[in-house]
């Protein structure tokens, strides 16, 4: 018995969501009285491999193979499943990132495992019962499932579990997987990263704008506020539909679901589809001219006022706060 955690990296560094998933997997290993093994695939910066140990990983399997330098869904899934078998792991944990969403179902099928995806809290384990909770209806509800199979695959929603430091040995071992040529039918040609931007699904703070901003030319102040707060920028559906911002920033039921610590909505009325995508945010701030905007009903803090007046004041206040901190 063991728990296996796939430690996803981006540009050679483990991501924050990876450490969340490690901490989560450690807690499951403690609960079930077993060990935690990590598997890292592809190039990671020297020194990174020592990090899983800081969060409670007993052993780190490192796969360093030129063919696996870039993410290849099918091949990575095969490698992780092979490691799970070798380690005799009955629980595999991943982050429910874009890549994790591709890997988890394939690994589950390979291992004949039940799959719980987008889970938001630790499983409730009692005897052979293993219950997991995930968001459903785009955050309008939670659904609770019981995984009844012997093997289980769990993908954890980003920002749902706190990173916990916990020292463990973290012994690094080389892992040489068997590669199947048929796993290499999808090849990465190019990776385009917007380096200066905080990635929206991972962001701890999100600054989001709606139609109330009147046009794409007015996004400068939101970008400034976001950059001061280390936040990602987002928008409502009408904004991305109008082409003011890219679809990858559209938050809501048919866009990205986010769960940051702080969501600041500027000039967004709060249609039910938008609320669905943000309802699991820890703190919601709403800035809107219309005191009747439905968004205020689900907000923690609200300012009834013109965005063009309020946002510059907030920018000044953040600058002052940062200068004094």
């Amino acid at each position: 018995m063991a728990v296996l955690i796939y430690t996803e990296n981006a540009g050679g560094k483990f991501k924050k969501s990876t450490f969340e998933a490690i901490s989560y997997a450690r807690a499951i290993a403690d609960e079930t009285g077993t060990t935690l093994t990590a598997i890292s695939i592809g190039d990671v910066d020297p020194g990174e491999l020592a990090l899983p140990g800081k969060y409670g990983t007993d052993k780190v399997l490192h796969v360093c193979n030129g063919q696996l330098k870039n993410f290849i869904n099918q091949a990575y899934a095969s490698v992780i499943a092979e490691a799970a078998k070798k380690e005799n792991a009955d629980i595999v944990v991943l982050s429910n990132s874009f890549s994790g969403r591709g890997l988890a179902p394939r690994i589950a099928v390979k291992l004949d495992a039940g799959l719980a995806d987008g889970v938001i809290s630790l499983p409730e384990i009692s005897g052979s019962q293993f219950r997991v909770k995930k968001t459903a209806f785009s955050g309008k509800a939670f659904a609770i499932f019981e995984l009844t199979s012997a093997k289980k695959v769990i993908s954890l929603s980003p920002n749902a579990y706190q990173v916990v430091e916990k020292h463990a040995e973290g012994k690094i071992e080389e892992f040489i997987p068997e590669l199947k040529p048929t796993d290499f039918k999808a090849l990465v040609k190019e990776v385009i990263q917007s380096a200066d931007k905080v990635s929206l699904p991972d962001a701890e703070i999100v600054v989001s704008g709606g139609r109330g901003l009147k046009g794409p030319e007015n996004w400068g102040m939101l970008e400034e506020l976001a950059s001061l707060l280390g936040a990602a920028t987002a928008c409502s559906k009408p904004v991305s539909d109008a082409g003011w911002r890219s679809h990858s920033e559209h938050v809501g039921q048919t866009g990205i679901t986010v769960s940051p610590n702080l969501y600041i909505a500027v000039g967004i009325s709060g249609a039910i589809q938008h609320l669905a995508g943000v309802s699991s945010s820890k703190v919601i701030v709403v800035i809107n001219k219309d005191p009747e905007a439905p968004f205020f009903k689900v907000a923690d803090y609200g300012i009834v006022g013109d965005a063009f007046e309020v946002v510059p004041k907030l920018i000044a206040a953040v600058k002052e706060y940062k200068a004094s901190a």
Partner: protein, 245 residues
Amino acid sequence: MKILVCISNVPDTTTKITFTDNNTQFNTNGVQFILNPYDEIALARAIELTEGGKGTVTVINVGEVSTEPTIRKALAIGADDAVRINAKPHDAWFVAKQIASYIQQNSYDLVLTGRESIDYNGSKVAGMLGELLDIPSVSIIKKLDIEGDLAVVEREIEGGKEILSIQLPFVAGAAEGVAEPKIPNMRGIMSARTKPLAVVEPVEVSTNLTFSGFEIPAARGQVKLIPTDDSASLIGLLHTEARVI
């Protein structure tokens, strides 16, 4: 080229979600069901790729007879024919096994799904299908072009994108950017009534997951309103009271 588009029948996005039977049943009373919005994008791209006699588009749904209006809508939008696997879609594994079994008997060059269904927000079926059929799968694509038996696909990643070259056949989950959803025209609506809709009985699947119930998220407390003139004080509150900055 033969394209299969997997569609689901989901509650309309404006639905207020409530449950009955001690929070174990989704209350469908008064709920309008629609074609999953992401599946509409997949369908629109499939139609574009096969336009002008370049291929056919089949839609497949795992559902009971009540999903047929949604299937007819897909036919009205422009799918050539449809298949309904006559079963309640228990979970993603059940659905993937049904569709995989159908594909094994009727091969396709490309299988598209939506990036996720807006009810359970899973994006599992595409990956499971890929594994069951031993072909590549891409969970969330933003762009899809096909040249011969090679596709160029844009995949979403955190803070960027990846361009992939993939050998057909494969499975992909379509997201915004792949195509603009199509609105059925009168001719489409008329012809949808007579397009073939085959009903296939399900295969047996052993389950590995059971559903226990729903929970409604706790309501937030009353909103704390800050006067416009005092906007700046919000930052202090976020630091000292909410502790999020």
